[in-house]
C-alpha cells in the first residue's frame, strides 16, 4: 500500500510493524504511551479553564469555606452536642469529602458540554487515545480536589481545627480524599457521556450528590438519625470514606473503613470507569 504523503514538513509515524506478536506488544506500548501523553494534554486544557475562569476558581475556593463556616458557627453549637469530639474536628473531613465530590462532579458536566459543542467530534477525528478525553477531565478535577482539600484544611486549622491522630495519618488525609474523589469522578463521567446535555447532567449531579453526601456521617453522627436512615447511611460509601478520613485526622480504627473505601474506589475506577469509556467509544 502506498503511504499517503503529507504535504510538507511533519509526517505521522508509519503503521506498526507486521508480525503478530511484535504488533501486539508494539501496539500496547504505543497505546500506553499515548494514553498518558494525551491525557496529560487534556488535563492541561482543563486546568487552564480553572485558571482563566474566575467563577469556577472562586466557587472552588469559597464553596468549602461557606460550608465550613456555616456548619461550624451556625449549626455547630446545636449539632456539636451530639458529637464526642469538637465539632470542627468532627466536621472537617466531612466537608472535604462533600465539597470535593461536587468538584469532581464537574467532570460529567464538562463532558456533556464538550459533546454539545462538537468538541468530541474533533477529538474523535484525531489519532489520539480515546480514553484521554474522559481521563483528562477526571485527572484535572482530581487535581483541583486535592488542592482544594489542602486549602480547606488550612482554613480549618486557622479557625480551631486540630489533628489528634498522629502526623502520618494526618498528612495522608488530602491524598485519601483526592483518591476517593478520583473514583467518584468516573460516576460523573458516566452521567456526562450518557446524557450529553449540561443541564440534565447538572441536575442529576445535584439530585444525586446532595442526598448521597447528606445521608452519611458527613455532618452529624449516624446514631442521631432515624433507624431506617441509619441503615442507608451505614452502607453509603460516603460514610465509609468520611469515617476513614475522620479517623486519619482524629485517631481511631482505620483498617475497618480503609478496606470498604478502597473497594468502592476500585469499583468506581474500573467498573464504572470502563462502562463510561465504553459508552463514550460507542457514541456516533
Amino acid at each position: 500500500m502506498n503511504l499517503p504523503q503529507a504535504v510538507n514538513g511533519w509526517r505521522p509515524e508509519p503503521p506498526a510493524p507486521s508480525t503478530p506478536v511484535r504488533e501486539a506488544i508494539g501496539s500496547v506500548l504505543y497505546e500506553f504511551r499515548w494514553i498518558i501523553a494525551d491525557t496529560a494534554m487534556l488535563t492541561w486544557r482543563m486546568l487552564m479553564h480553572y485558571r482563566r475562569n474566575p467563577e469556577m476558581l472562586l466557587s472552588t475556593i469559597f464553596g468549602p469555606l461557606m460550608f465550613l463556616f456555616l456548619f461550624t458557627y451556625v449549626f455547630g453549637g446545636a449539632i456539636g452536642r451530639s458529637t464526642e469530639i469538637n465539632y470542627i474536628d468532627y466536621l472537617l473531613p466531612g466537608v472535604l469529602i462533600q465539597n470535593n465530590i461536587f468538584t469532581v462532579m464537574q467532570t460529567g458536566i464538562g463532558l456533556a458540554d464538550d459533546m454539545q459543542k462538537g468538541f468530541v467530534d474533533r477529538y474523535r477525528s484525531l489519532p489520539m487515545a480515546r480514553s484521554a478525553v474522559i481521563g483528562g477531565r477526571v485527572v484535572a478535577t482530581t487535581v483541583i480536589a486535592f488542592f482544594s482539600a489542602i486549602w480547606t484544611i488550612g482554613i480549618a486549622v486557622v479557625i480551631g481545627m486540630r489533628f489528634h491522630g498522629g502526623f502520618w495519618p494526618g498528612l495522608s488525609l488530602p491524598f485519601v480524599v483526592a483518591l476517593f474523589c478520583f473514583g467518584f469522578a468516573w460516576i460523573s463521567a458516566l452521567v456526562g457521556v450518557s446524557v450529553r446535555d449540561t443541564q440534565t447532567a447538572s441536575s442529576i449531579t445535584f439530585f444525586v450528590a446532595i442526598p448521597l453526601t447528606f445521608l452519611s456521617s458527613t455532618f452529624v453522627p449516624i446514631e442521631t438519625m432515624p433507624g431506617w436512615l441509619q441503615a442507608f447511611a451505614g452502607v453509603n460509601p460516603i460514610t465509609q470514606v468520611v469515617n476513614l478520613s475522620r479517623n486519619l485526622a482524629q485517631g481511631g480504627p482505620i483498617a475497618v473503613y480503609a478496606l470498604p473505601t478502597f473497594l468502592w474506589t476500585v469499583f468506581f475506577v474500573f467498573g464504572i470507569g470502563s462502562l463510561a469509556t465504553w459508552r463514550y467509544k460507542r457514541i456516533s
Binding site: I79, V220, L229
Partner: protein, 274 residues
C-alpha cells in the same frame, strides 16, 4: 382594527382622576399579562419546575431526618421548629429568581420590546414579582403538605396555621422587590445570580430558621437578632406553633411594607432609567 383611546376634553380635575383610573387599570391588566408569561416559563421548562419544587421537598426531608436528631430545639419537635424556617428560606431563594430573570431579559433585549409597547412600565417588574410570589405560595403549600406527612403538626389554631403560607409568600413578595432592584441594576444574569446568592445565603442561614439563635456564638447572635429573616421566621413559628402573634407580626409587616413601597419604586425607577 384597534382604535387607540380617544383623548377627550374634560375639566383638569376630571382629567386627572380619569387618567389615574386608566393608568391603574392598565397597570393591573399589563401586570397580569406579564405574570402569565412568567408562569408559562415554568410549564415550558420542566428543569425549572423540578428545581423549584423537588429541591425544596428534598431539603425538608434532609434537614428533618439528617439534622433533626442532632439539633435540640427545646419543647418543640424539630420538624415543627423547622417548617416555618425552611418555608421562609426557600421562598426567599425563589424570590431571587425575579432579579435573575429580569437581568436576563435586560441582557437579551427582551425588555426593549416591552418598552416599545404602550404598556405600563411597572408591569414588567410587577409581572415577575407577582409570578414568583404565586410560585412561592404554591411551593409553600407543597412543602407544608410534605411536612404534615412526615409529622409536622400545627399547635397554634386553625386560622393562624392556615395563614402561614400566605404570610411567607407575602414576605417573599416584599423580598422580590430587592431582587428586582438588583436585577435592574446589574443587568447580567450570572452577576445578579451570584450577587443575590451571597446576600441571601448568609441572610437566611444566620437566622433562627434552622437552629435556635442561643446555640450560636455571641457575635453571630447579634446579627441573627436584627436579621429581618429571623423576624419573619419567628412570626411564622408563632402562627403555626402558638406564641405572641402581634409582637412578632409588626416587625415583619414593617419590613415587607418597607421593601415593597421603598425598594419597589426605586427598582421601577432604575428599570425606567435603563
Amino acid at each position: 382594527m384597534i382604535q387607540p383611546a380617544q383623548l377627550q376634553d374634560r375639566s383638569p380635575l376630571g382629567e386627572l382622576v380619569s387618567a389615574i383610573a386608566v393608568e391603574a387599570r392598565w397597570i393591573i391588566a399589563d401586570t397580569a399579562v406579564m405574570s402569565w408569561r412568567n408562569l408559562l416559563r415554568y410549564r415550558r421548562s420542566p428543569e425549572l419546575l423540578m428545581f423549584s419544587t423537588l429541591s425544596p421537598v428534598m431539603f425538608v426531608l434532609l434537614f428533618n431526618y439528617v439534622f433533626g436528631g442532632a439539633i435540640p430545639t427545646g419543647d418543640l419537635n424539630y420538624i415543627d421548629y423547622l417548617m416555618p424556617g425552611i418555608l421562609v428560606q426557600t421562598t426567599i431563594f425563589s424570590a431571587t429568581t425575579t432579579g435573575v430573570g429580569l437581568a436576563e431579559d435586560l441582557q437579551k433585549g427582551m425588555v426593549d420590546r416591552y418598552r416599545s409597547l404602550p404598556m405600563a412600565r411597572s408591569a414588567v417588574l410587577g409581572g415577575r414579582v407577582v409570578a414568583e410570589t404565586l410560585v412561592s405560595l404554591f411551593v409553600a403549600f407543597l412543602m407544608l403538605g410534605v411536612g404534615l406527612i412526615i409529622g409536622m403538626r400545627f399547635h397554634g389554631g386553625f386560622w393562624p396555621g392556615f395563614s402561614l403560607p400566605f404570610m411567607v409568600a407575602g414576605f417573599a413578595f416584599g423580598f422580590s422587590w430587592i431582587a428586582a432592584f438588583v436585577g435592574a441594576s446589574v443587568r447580567n444574569a450570572e452577576g445578579a445570580g451570584s450577587l443575590m446568592f451571597f446576600v441571601v445565603f448568609p441572610l437566611t442561614f444566620l437566622s433562627s430558621a434552622f437552629v435556635p439563635i442561643e446555640s450560636m456564638p455571641g457575635w453571630l447572635q447579634w446579627f441573627a437578632y436584627v436579621n429581618p429573616v429571623t423576624n419573619a421566621v419567628d412570626f411564622g413559628r408563632a402562627l403555626s406553633q402558638g406564641g405572641p402573634i402581634v409582637a412578632n407580626a409588626w416587625p415583619t409587616a414593617l419590613w415587607t411594607l418597607g421593601m415593597t413601597f421603598v425598594i419597589g419604586p426605586v427598582a421601577v425607577w432604575r428599570y425606567r432609567k435603563v
